[in-house]
Symmetry: C2
Subunit: 140 residues, 2 copies
DNA sequence: TATTGTAAGTTAGATATCTAACTATTTAAA
DNA sequence: TTTAAATAGTTAGATATCTAACTTACAATA
């Protein structure tokens, strides 16, 4: 018998994941960073300098939100803004040394989070879970 | 091969679900209501008058958040506050007629959302999915 | 070339959410 | 009985998020 609790559970898992990320980062002495900031840093670790527009797409947030998030990361010294030489509308976001230095911490937090999510699942079950989530997302 | 995308997908499904709820409610002429307001109304539909404290527990939000959410629902005319006669610290939240009248709309939106989530799953698969989500949540 | 449109980014204003601090009331302990 | 502790709820202040409107720069078309 279905309980129809999936939506609620998904919301609560997201909340729990966000809290865990914030508290793990604080344990490593990193303060003022929330998961969306982490998404931005993750994008920069993977792709190098990225425009505001591409950042917004990557982290699935609007451009004004990304402006606010990047402002914060600039204040905290993790990234810098840089105007594109050819097209003056475009701003590239770059990691600073401090930003680069954060990568091992992020990998650790990420591993801890994925351990909680995937723990107890076989490889196949994990793959099926991911496929199921992808299919759900596609139906919206 | 695991992609380790589950956390990200869960976050995006939540965002999509929230957007769907808001847009479906607006289609029915209901404005200014977000999913957390819906959680409060759902609690009232199921349990009748409830205290602020119990509401907070039920919807997994803090008391100050519930205060804000209830303020909004009062402004919009869906609920009223009522002091407990015996213990003056306690406030009960009651549905108004307008609040009760919203129940069918909520049921419809809820059905639409669950159709998206559970569509394509057999009964057993749905149950396993719910169990999996419950287990993940328990591990945090 | 001038005008019109499009694209990138920020600013403004609103809101849900949190933590911390506060008020008011009830309960417990001295 | 008086004082201390616990409980219910709100207020204050901060922040991430959104939509709408704005600015600036480039592109296209007349």
């Amino acid at each position: 018998m279905l309980k129809k609790t999936a939506v609620s559970l998904i919301g609560r898992i997201r909340d729990s994941a966000n809290r865990l990320i914030i508290s793990e980062l604080e344990k490593h002495g990193v303060e003022g960073i929330v998961p969306s900031h982490g998404d931005i840093l993750a994008c920069l670790y993977q792709n190098g300098p990225v425009t505001m527009k591409d950042l917004a797409e990557y982290i699935h947030r609007t451009k004004p939100t990304v402006t606010v998030l990047v402002n914060k990361l600039v204040e905290l010294g993790y990234v810098t803004r840089e105007k594109d030489a050819g097209d003056n509308r475009i701003t590239y976001i770059n990691l600073t040394e401090k930003g680069v230095a954060l990568q091992p911490v992020f990998n650790e937090v990420s591993a801890r989070l994925n351990a909680i999510i995937y723990c107890g699942l076989t490889e196949t079950e994990g793959e099926n879970f991911e496929k199921l989530l992808e299919n759900i997302l596609r139906r919206f």
